[in-house]
Symmetry: C2
């Protein structure tokens, strides 16, 4: 039995017409000889509307009851999609997460899948049925309904495909993963093939379609993921081990840029291990998402620390620093909210040295100052003044072949 798990997102089933079109796409796959399992998200804005209803009832809805509410969204779309398939003459059957015993942890709204009992699905597939499954949801040992949080339906699809030993196809409203958001880099190139690690880095930068969690799970099971458009036949992107083996020339696979961070520089810290620990320890306790960190110790033994964090956490950061200044009046700080944070990601960096040097040279030749920089094995992230964002994206995009 050739099994394929297809996942259709909320915009793909956003109307009755689209549901009928998705049914046709599924039938096409079925005719190619596949046993098809379909994961569906809630229709269009349904989840948002349900959240609004809850917020109208109370500012602070109970997470368990929130899950009870939100799981209805997918239940509506699976039943409608099954009706559409049946009306087109194909046997189909829908199941909720609880019905399939998609067992999760009991952390409501952010549950994680523990195990899936696929016997019911296999039984239906053997009866030649298309099985339509509610994504994003599961059930605890105690029969309480749970949801999986952001990216949950993708995670449901990957988990089911891994368990069933089938292919996994994620259909959405874009036709694949691009080297960069095409709204930011004109002529950004569609990536034919990308590795799990690169995709995870790009996903954690908020770039491109897939959520970190689903890719991480696919990586764990070495399950190839196809990402493509619901309503177009153009070739999408494969996410798989090793990425694009045939394209060794590609050093940089993708790029992302964010205008949502600030750079904070703290001057005249006492130079000691505990100084750094105390600063970032307090940030952590207050839930500040510190990203890049850079430090320098001057000849007279004073320490400078610079870091980036989301602009929306400015008041928390300033509160921590003001409190600290009461104990150590010599410290001062500067905040720059006018930065752009640029990240370039590429598995090729592992084998191609000098990528950072090439980036620095490009910036220097164009008189663009790098405010802070950090590197990891397959990623370089740096900040520049916000006015330069467009120029930097253009320079790197062209220098590293990220455009068509």
């Amino acid at each position: 039995m050739k099994i394929v798990v297809q996942k259709y997102g909320g915009t793909s089933v956003g109307s009755v017409e689209k549901i009928r079109a998705v049914a046709d796409k599924i039938i096409q796959k079925k005719k190619e000889g596949y046993s098809v399992v379909v994961i569906v998200s809630a229709m269009g804005k349904t989840t948002d509307e349900l959240v609004s209803l809850a917020k109208a009832v109370t500012d602070n809805p109970e997470p368990r009851e929130m899950d009870m509410l939100l799981t209805t969204g997918e239940q509506i779309s699976i039943s409608l999609l099954s009706m559409a398939l049946i009306s087109k003459g194909l046997p189909a059957i829908s199941y909720t997460g609880p019905q399939l015993n998609i067992k999760t942890t009991d952390l409501h709204q952010k549950a994680r899948i523990k195990d899936i009992d696929v016997s019911k699905i296999m039984e239906a597939l053997e009866q030649n049925k298309i099985v339509v499954v509610a994504g994003f949801q599961g059930v605890t040992e105690n029969n309480e309904y749970t949801t999986l949080g952001r990216g949950g339906s993708d995670t449901s699809a990957v988990a089911l495909a891994a368990k069933l030993g089938g292919n996994c196809e994620i259909y959405t409203d874009v036709d694949g993963i691009y080297t960069m958001d095409p709204r930011k880099l004109r002529n950004a190139r569609k990536i034919n093939c990308i590795s799990y690690e690169e995709m995870m880095e790009m996903a954690s930068l908020g770039a491109g379609v897939m959520h970190y969690r689903a890719v991480e799970l696919a990586n764990k099971y070495k399950l190839p993921l196809y990402v493509g458009s619901t309503f177009s036949d153009s070739q999408g992107t494969m996410i798989q081990d090793g990425g694009a083996a045939e394209m060794e020339e590609t050093v940089i696979t993708g790029m992302a840029s964010s205008l949502e961070d600030m750079q904070v520089t703290v001057l005249n810290l006492p130079s000691s291990v505990s100084g750094l620990y105390r600063l970032f320890g307090r940030m952590g306790e207050k839930g500040v998402n510190v990203d890049m960190i850079s430090q320098m110790i001057t000849e007279d033994g004073k320490m400078y620390v610079s870091f980036t964090a989301p602009i929306e956490e400015l008041s928390i950061v300033e509160g921590i620093l003001q409190q600290w200044q009461e104990e150590a009046p010599e410290i001062s700080w500067e905040v720059n909210t006018e930065i752009a944070k640029i990240s370039v990601v590429g598995l090729g960096m592992r084998t191609h040295s000098g990528v950072a040097a090439k980036v620095f040279k490009l910036m220097a030749e164009n008189n663009i100052a790098i405010k802070i920089v950090t590197t990891s094995e397959i990623k370089i992230t740096f900040a520049v003044d916000r006015v330069h964002e467009e120029k930097v994206i253009d320079l790197i995009g062209n220098a590293f072949g990220l455009v068509v």
Copy 2:
């Protein structure tokens, strides 16, 4: 533990504001020392909207998938009501029919409750929680979701109250059962107390708030039912064994009238047992809902049969008669769609003779011809020309004390 099961219909939870008001009403009952179980219907027009969605997908939605779709309606309202209760500081927990193992037959869309496992409810009540249960739904042995059809939520409430050994209160948008629909009988009187049999007769006439099925179930378990208004404190109606014992003077409890029936009179039938059987046998096979039947045999051995049936079944009835005429050309028929069917119901008829006579006398004094009449132990039904409907209602309403 004093347990009460309260049921709130769709209009009672039709908006976020109403849900919050219902929460206050529940809290009031809780403060009176009751352990409260609440059954809720889907919000306002939700069920209608879901049905429209399904009909947009296909003219003929699969019943199983229809149930999958419709059960979301109550799941939304139970979660919102629980959130409202919790936000007001009371511990509450919602459960779907499948979660509570409300076991039903497997006839989708018209399932019947077989048994309820109340252990989960009892556990929550012992933890001092308010338990909010989705009405109208259940689950088969095979874990398939089902709905109970019309009047389903009332039936859920009665079944739960019977099983839990608690009181049962049905809250709706009217403040009780009236002697007649007040739109038809001005000054119709609210009934303080009515027997199961009377209520079943009135329910099957389409009169008054409660569905036949829920009353039938309450009668089976001799469970007193209270019917009252969600948003008013005025005294409602008790439905209980024996009705209003203290009011023996009341012979007639209620009245209903319908303009949706026609009278068909078939002339010159062969006078034989098989004649009647053949006529009504065919009607039954074709699903015609024959109500009143009256027959007469003339001196020359010909039979006249008159009966009533819904006007919307006219073409089916004529089809049957035309087919029969081919075999028996001597028969002919008349159809009168301009009748009003009036029913009076009262437990008092059992002990008070002469009710029918009193009705006939009233009609005769006012020159109103009775077209057909049938009587049962506690009901008299008769048809008059439609033009007399208002007059007849007024005459009987006043003669039998059905008005304030």
